[in-house]
Amino acid sequence: MASLQDIRRRIRSVKNTQQVTKAMKMISAVKLRKSQERLVSLRPYASKMKEVVYRVVASVKGRPEIHLGPSATALISPREEKAIRVVVVASDKGLCGGFNANILKRAALFLQENGDKRVKVDVVGKRAFDWARRRGLTLESEYLGVPLPGLQKVTREIADAAAQQYEAGEIDALYVVYNHFQSAVAQEPTVVKVFPVELPVQPMDAKAEIPHLLEPDPNTILETLLPRFVETEVLRTLLESSASEHGARMAAMDKASGNAGEMIAKLTLTMNKIRQAAITNQIIEIVSGANA
C-alpha cells in the first residue's frame, strides 16, 4: 500500500492539474464568447446574403436571353466535378476533446468519397496541417496560428485563389470541412459546398410573388455579389469552427476539472483511512502494552 507521503504528493499534483484545467476552462469561456459574438453578428449577414444570391440565381436560371459574363456564369452553373478544392478547418491546439479527431475523420471520409477526383487541399489550424502531412497530402496553402481578427484575411486569400482556379478551369467546386457550431457543448462535423451555387430544392419563400427588378442588370449584380458571397460563406465556416473549438475545449476542461475533483476526493478518503489505521495500530500497541 502506498504511504501517506505518496498519497499526499499525488493529491497535491492532482490539485495542480485541476487548477490548470479550471483556468483553461475559464479562458475558453471568454474566447468562446468572443468567437460566438463574431459568429452571431455575421450570421444575419450571411443568411441574408444567401437569400439574395438564391433569389438572383433563381431569377436568371433557365433564361438564356439574359447574358451573363464568364465569372457569373461559372459560379452558378455546376459542371462535372473532376477536380475539387477542399478547405479542412481544425484547431491549432489540442485539449479540446474529440474536436479535431471528429473533423479529421470526416475529412478523411470526404477524401475517400472523392478518391476518383483530383483534390486540392487547404488546411487551417496546426492539427489539420499535421494530419495532412501524416497522410502525405500536398497542400495548396496552410494557415497556422491565425488569431480571430486575422480570419478575414485568410478568408479573402482562400476565396480569391479558389475563384481564380475555378474560372481557369483548374477546379470545379470548392468545399469546406468544418465543425458547425450548434451550441457551446455541441459541434457537428459538416461538409459544405461553397460554389458553384446550388439552388435549394424548395423555393426560398412563397411571398416573393413579385420578382425583383435587378438593377442595373443581372450580370453586374452577380459579378459584384458572388465574390462577396463566397467570402462570407468561407468566413462563416471559419468562425463556426473557432466558436466550436472553444466550446469543445470548455466542455473538455470542465469534464477534466470534475474528474480531478473526483480523484482528489477518492485519494483523500484513502489517505484518511491509512492515517486512521496507523492511529488505531498505535492505540492497540499502547493498550496491549499497558495490559501486559
Partner: protein, 140 residues
C-alpha cells in the same frame, strides 16, 4: 405598419441599424442615389460609397456606407454593407488625418495600384468628414 419601411443595415461585423423609417435614400454603385418610399417595387442593386439618408418622424438622419448590396421590398430596405457606420461612430480628427495622409499618398503614388488605394482612402475619409460635419447636398 402602413407607410413605414424597415431599414436594416448589416455588415459582416454587426447590425449597424434597424428601425422603422419613412424614407430612405442610398447611393448605388452605378448611377447616383436611389430614393425609396413605402410600397416601392422590389429591387436588388449594388450599393456604392456615400451616405444612406433616412427620415424618421420628420427628422433626417444618415449613415455612411462603403459598398455592398441593397434589397428593397414594399415594406423594407435591407442593405448588406461591406462597411457602414453611424455618425457617432466616426472619429472626425482621425478622418481629417486620413484625408491628409491620402492626399500625400496620392501625390507620391508610383503605381496604379497605389493610386487606386490612395483614391479609395481619400474618398472614404471625405465621406466620413461629410457625415460627421454636414450632410451635404443630397437633400430629399
Amino acid at each position: 405598419m402602413a407607410g413605414h419601411l424597415l431599414l436594416e443595415v448589416v455588415t459582416p461585423e454587426r447590425r449597424v441599424f434597424s428601425a422603422q423609417v419613412q424614407e430612405v435614400m442610398f447611393p448605388t454603385a452605378h448611377r447616383g442615389y436611389y430614393g425609396i418610399k413605402p410600397e416601392h417595387t422590389p429591387v436588388m442593386t449594388p450599393v456604392g460609397n456615400g451616405l444612406i439618408y433616412f427620415t424618421q418622424e420628420g427628422q433626417r438622419h444618415w449613415l455612411t456606407v462603403f459598398g455592398g448590396f441593397a434589397e428593397v421590398g414594399p415594406d423594407h430596405v435591407t442593405i448588406l454593407a461591406r462597411e457602414s457606420e453611424t455618425v457617432d461612430m466616426i472619429d472626425l480628427p482621425q478622418a481629417e488625418a486620413d484625408k491628409q495622409q491620402a492626399l500625400k499618398l496620392l501625390k507620391e503614388a508610383q503605381t496604379e495600384h497605389d493610386m487606386d488605394e490612395a483614391q479609395a482612402s481619400l474618398e472614404a475619409s471625405i465621406i466620413r468628414i461629410q457625415a460627421a460635419s454636414h450632410p451635404g447636398g443630397h437633400g430629399f
